[in-house]
Symmetry: C2
Amino acid sequence: MTYRAPVADIAFTLKHGAGLSPTLAQNGALAADDVDAILEEAGKFATEVIAPLNTVGDKHGTPLKDGNITMPPGWKDAYRSWSAAGWNAVSLPDAFGGQALPHALNAACIEMWNSASMAFGIGPVLTMGAAEALAAYGSDELKRTYLGKLVSGEWMGTMQLTEPQAGSDVGALRTKAERAGDGSYRITGQKIFITYGEHDLTDNIIHFVLARLPDAPAGNKGISLFLVPKFLVNGDGSLGARNDLRAHSIEHKLGIHGSPTCTMVYGDKDGAVGYLVGEENRGLACMFTMMNLARLAVGLQGVGIAERATQQALAYARERRQGRAIGAKDGSSAIIEHPDVKRMLMTMRALTRAARAICYATAGAIDMSHGGGDQAKAADARAALLTPVAKAFSTDIGIEVASMGVQVHGGMGFIEKTGAAQHLRDSRIAAIYEGTNGIQALDLAMRKVPLEGGAVVRAYIGELRNTVKAVQANNDPALGATGARLGEAVDSLDRATAWLLGQVNEAPQAALAGATPYLRLFGTAAGGCMLADEALAALRVSAGEPAARVAVARFFAENIAVQASGLERAVTESADSVNTADAALAG
Amino acid sequence: MTYRAPVADIAFTLKHGAGLSPTLAQNGALAADDVDAILEEAGKFATEVIAPLNTVGDKHGTPLKDGNITMPPGWKDAYRSWSAAGWNAVSLPDAFGGQALPHALNAACIEMWNSASMAFGIGPVLTMGAAEALAAYGSDELKRTYLGKLVSGEWMGTMQLTEPQAGSDVGALRTKAERAGDGSYRITGQKIFITYGEHDLTDNIIHFVLARLPDAPAGNKGISLFLVPKFLVNGDGSLGARNDLRAHSIEHKLGIHGSPTCTMVYGDKDGAVGYLVGEENRGLACMFTMMNLARLAVGLQGVGIAERATQQALAYARERRQGRAIGAKDGSSAIIEHPDVKRMLMTMRALTRAARAICYATAGAIDMSHGGGDQAKAADARAALLTPVAKAFSTDIGIEVASMGVQVHGGMGFIEKTGAAQHLRDSRIAAIYEGTNGIQALDLAMRKVPLEGGAVVRAYIGELRNTVKAVQANNDPALGATGARLGEAVDSLDRATAWLLGQVNEAPQAALAGATPYLRLFGTAAGGCMLADEALAALRVSAGEPAARVAVARFFAENIAVQASGLERAVTESADSVNTADAALAG
């Protein structure tokens, strides 16, 4: 069973959810039909070209020999067709060859690349982020030399923060940059866990490296960002000498074996030639441009792996026959007929679609933030609020759904050749990289919820309440208790938010203890409301399979949103049980 | 970081929980000091001999060549020392060399073997189950020839149910047994997913194979159990000819690579020689003797892997320094100081200990069922009620805790050499084999809860209420809201149980839809109360680290037991959302 891009489903969520509907309403240049055509083509590429490479990548891995990495069979051709078709450039600025299409549309594409193969999809995500950062902060000269090729994907980019002592704590990094006197810098040091740090997909690789100048202040305020090409580039744009950097080793990982994870060494000789991006000591701001997009993209990996795991489990459950379901006539039933299996499959589907809606809405907010005025400002704050939820909720459910996918397969799920286990292995990294989900929860609780004194989150909760009212006003009996359960979930989120706003400054230790259940509560209430919005939209326009969307929204509300009250308590009443637990963790 | 058996912790739970306290109160022959001495020795063996073999097994696997499997380096010596020391015989009948010690004590040992290495621990578990079945159902002649060596572990046993079309639905099996005319049978057919089906740890392997006689009725009522030795045994007990069976292939699995999972072929020539165990067509009853013990043992695998993952995460969190915790003076803090990490570690610890208490209590009920009279009958029903919870709750949390263990390690968790990922890979099977956790949930909801018209489960809930009252009567402020939250959880379980009893016959489809959240609710309420019992016992006797036990009980009650109301709703209010979901699963 391989992946088939759920183009119609994605298109509906995109056009009727918060992802693309505001853009479509505003932007005469992009028609709904164009969106369908682009998604159709992307889905075709993901399904036909990338998806078959997924197990190939898992089996072959990315062997490193003499500093060179050979990517799995077929990957180079696939990548080159992919970039030649313009898929790297979808939402990148048009000044350097990008198509400047909405991020929300690109988000849908990113989901599909990553459903097809997470290990394949993560490389381009970093290249896109690098291009965004360079476009925003790079000098004209750097842009002239590098931006066009990063936009097209002819060269890939990397994002290099982590060092052994500097993981979640980026400020602790030690890689050095010294001024060379000619405007360039010389980089020495070591970076670890560098995704796509070396490979043979492209002729050059453009590394974006955080490093510290000799006179830099300590911590986060002394970090600068450098563009460090694998091969130096001559004045005419041709490739010059090899730069003083190399992949020293690769990691043997639980999953995404097709994605090379490298330890990079800079400065075996005189230091690698690097060029400053943005201002000295202001590198973290540049890196955050990359990182926010990368966080959303990693959230989309969670959606993608969940979608693929759901498809595979569904296909198996339709074929596999065991036992006789109640009411079935003769012989054995397909296991999808058994209520317990149905519950698993519906949980998978509902969580996947909720996470998708959250991620697309985040991308939509980014799109709306690019205009001007108060609306853009509000959209920017909305994107800031939703980004940690999109990243952490989606990747958490990615793992849960992939694990449930193994379970649906029974014993076959544990056998590697079935493929369900690979999804679980692959899914596990997304909750860790680009800021662990714990870091996302802290970001949400301590920085995003307090934005504008809480006005940003309160406005968002107000919108969720409108959804609840709309559901309650609808008389479709198929919605069951959707309105009531979502209403309770939003109430829980509202109270937990008020509590959090009271703690952030007064009792930060308490706020920190509740951060992770708060993020889950947020994703649960928001995701449930978004699914209900989709169901109402489908009923309204009599398209997008209304019965199916109603069933998913109802299942989420009655089975998943009901966790809200327990999560609320874990946020608001459990600080003591966390912070006084040292006795139980000693010894 | 390797495993260190938590002997003191285990001993406390065993002696002060339902596992061993009734036996100790009754049985003058076994003193509490003996228990400590045995646990100490078992812990030493698990820690020093088995635990170091765990990564060896993961790396080497169990290659099959010409029908023979070579076990990983060091495994044969370790197994032989282990069985020579008497560990296989702990709770087996004394007539054939067993020590006839309580199952609860053996349960603690099984946990430790499996913490040390799940792949190592699963083999003996099956041998013990085979010995129990043979002791209960075998003819005197079969016992004379095989039982002593199965009790000592000199020969290992296997348990062979599964065929490609017969997984959860055992009744669909097709392996044939024909009467040979001399009292023996000839077996032909194929079995899949056979754990330890072939290996070089012992000179003979005794297979317990379910097969169907030519004139057998269809389904479950036509299954017979046969003892089928790898090597036939001569009259003098020496090994004779090779039997007509072989391992045809082994599976490449997600985890437990040190445990050979074989496809077995019977009857290349005239059929393998087999001997009937019990009566013809009554094999399933015999197999259930093995299976119930195996289910508990697999639950203990869940506890074991959770314990090991928790130990490893704790060790890492104490060493790894990132960021500065609130209130810390200078430099970076150990990540265990960060509330969010503390929450993860406490969740791991609390879930692990709750599952342990449930498994030990199940074993204790088995012990008490071996006496006579009403008490034994009640204990037998209690064991029947708790077994599916012990199996499914413990293995579900095994996966969750192992996954959280990866998360605590951050990027290092995804790197195989760290070892945290192996625990996640290993843990995944336990929710599948010996009856998937979905099957356990159905067993609980449809067969165990209705026992004696619900009197068995009601009596159990009554005991949980007594715990709640005892907690509420205690004034220790460190218990926080433990009493209140557990009271609510037990209320939820009570209402969900009443609902379930009303549905089982009237609306089985509804009961089936709620089975999985019901089992989780049951484990949550029961586990929370058992942790509270332990905390109260520790306070009472001023031993067993009262402060730590109170902290764990409180954390569980305030952070995990609070999920009860959401689970209750998913049981009692969600049948329609599950059973009308077909539209959302089509296409």
